[in-house]
Symmetry: C2
Subunit: 355 residues, 2 copies
């Protein structure tokens, strides 16, 4: 329980983090989440071009916040990377990691496992071990391999309900998290020099109920993406945000797949990943056999419409998790962070008091 608060001393238990949604989670939301006693991530993604400017803004903002000052030379936000981008991204990122020492890097979607080792080792080297290593996985096999090869500080265990990109094939958190916990605990017990990583739960958590559930399943903290889309600090179009607020029954109305990567030309993702988003006209046309060329043409025309391009009967990508129906109003990222943390505690206390 206390370990995440030891590593990120401005945070409160249970840790609530905002995931590094690529180009959606920038310094603004990241700092607000950290200000509220959580941990915000900047979603650098596959291209380091925005990284220095965003880290710099985060540093400025953090320096003006009493609770975020003097964090032992650590910048109190994290940075997320998509490892399939290749070694160029690593080379560009390293000097900035050295300069800013973010609290954590969140490593996701390597093309091959060696990439994770290179990122982990070089990040630890250039930051003197000050930047914690978070690695996102969605299977027991990956959890074991990553623990063995990288000794990460945190495993982000992402279940099937997550929005945006994740493994095409994986379990939901209720079975996944305990099985990962047991397998990793057994491995670390067997190999005495292997420290057990903390588990942070991702995928389908939308409020204090999901956060409380994650704690009972073995997590020390939780991370959300979709829920934070409905904060003014998320860098998304109003049309996208409105589509998130409107969607419900996400098990039926969202789907994971590769259609949007194809339509948007982001085709570098390794084959086993797909993005979960709200089903709309692009999906229905594709399912009815529309050619990719025509679908792309219509997609590009929809982009020009701006906010009108989103929605169930519109065409633009609305990445969101299958819990999207629990997102019903816009709140500040700080309020979301606090509310989820406090609700989780209240729910756990209340159930326990009735036992």
């Amino acid at each position: 329980m206390a370990d995440l608060q030891h590593d990120y001393p401005w945070t409160k238990y249970p840790l609530v983090a905002c995931g590094p949604m690529r180009l959606i989670a920038l310094s603004k939301i990241a700092v607000e989440v950290s200000k509220a006693g959580g941990l915000g991530f900047i979603g650098v993604g596959s291209d380091a071009s925005i990284m220095e400017a965003e880290l710099d803004k985060a540093k400025q903002q953090a320096s003006q916040t009493a609770t975020l000052q003097d964090q032992n030379e650590i910048l109190p936000v994290g940075v997320g990377f998509l490892l399939w981008a290749g070694d160029k991204l690593l080379e560009e990122a390293l000097p900035l990691l050295e300069k800013y020492k973010p609290a954590a890097v969140w490593l996701f979607a390597p093309t091959e496992p060696g990439q994770l080792v290179r990122w982990t080792e070089s990040t630890r080297r250039v930051t003197g071990g000050k930047t914690m290593i978070w690695v996102q996985i969605s299977t027991v096999a990956d959890a074991l391999e990553v623990t063995r090869t990288c000794q990460p500080d945190v495993l982000v265990v992402q279940g099937a309900d997550a929005g945006g990109h994740g493994l095409e094939k994986c379990a939901g958190l209720i079975p996944l998290l305990p099985e990962v916990d047991d397998a990793v605990s057994a491995l670390c017990k067997e190999q005495h020099d292997l420290p057990k990583p903390q588990l942070v739960a991702a995928g389908g958590i939308m409020d204090g109920r999901g956060a409380a559930a994650a704690l009972t399943l073995g997590a020390s903290g939780i991370t959300m993406g979709t829920r934070y889309l409905a904060s003014p600090e998320a860098n998304i179009a109003k049309g996208y945000r409105d589509a998130v607020l409107k969607a419900s029954d996400g098990g039926v109305t969202t789907e994971r797949g590769k259609l949007y990567d194809t339509l948007r030309g982001t085709t570098d993702w390794p084959l086993r990943y797909g993005g979960r988003g709200v089903l709309n006209e692009s999906h229905r046309d594709a399912a009815q056999g529309m050619s990719l060329e025509e679908n792309k043409r219509l997609y590009e025309a929809a982009v020009k419409k701006g906010d009108e391009g989103w929605g169930e009967s519109a065409r633009l990508t609305t990445y969101a998790g299958s819990g999207v129906g629990l997102v019903r109003e816009v709140k500040s990222a700080a309020d979301i962070t606090e509310e989820v943390r406090e609700d989780a505690k209240q729910i756990l206390s209340s159930i326990a008091s009735r036992l």
Copy 2:
């Protein structure tokens, strides 16, 4: 919290039920689960031919157990039906429901919503309301429709991780259960004469951790299938049980689909349902383009092998949830019931005490 214990007075909080796995959960396991303070179901499925004999055995066994006697003329086990079987099943079941008055009927997979209403109304009529109505759903839309049309006593909310049959497309419990809870609560508040059903969670729960999670998400009880496969009282072949014990990382090694229904000739399921099971040679051959005819021929040959017909490199159906990796040893159904209930409480108390 107290409502399920009011309706099933021999049960303890939180309610742990064994799902009505067709021809796997018979009187033997059902009574053992109820003896341990849970609620066992007999999986009658689509054919009433075994129903009277099993209810009779359950009655005999219950009458010899002190804690299960004098339950206000109720038989302290439930019965599960697959509604797509049609009205013939209802006609055959009704006199037996009237005669034995099981604690609950668990209604699943109607071909059309009117079937649920007919089953609900006639069950209540012939049992004088003594038999509670459980209806299994996996979407918010179905939860609302069922609540409106049937006023069930319990909604069994089944998430995507469940083994055996379930909706091909639905969310996991972490997002699904809270959204169903909110939607049904709002509906019942709006329509003052509509009583709110209790929520019982299903799908991916394997132990006290999953059970505790379900309680934080809004459930009053939980039900398991896969976990009970590893009890001597489950009516399955040793080969099947061994395959369950051996499987792990179920997000990757299980899949939901229609292949087994096709291979076994159980093709009456409505289109939106599929069965989750452990991937094996039947799947791999189908994926590599083997004709259904040849796959069926090999399947039937495997049936003749007995226990050797199961396993990852064998061919027979091993329905199991994606949490199958958490099933590691054979325990009695009573021990499973007690352990899950007590572990859930212990986990909740322990986390709450650290807040």
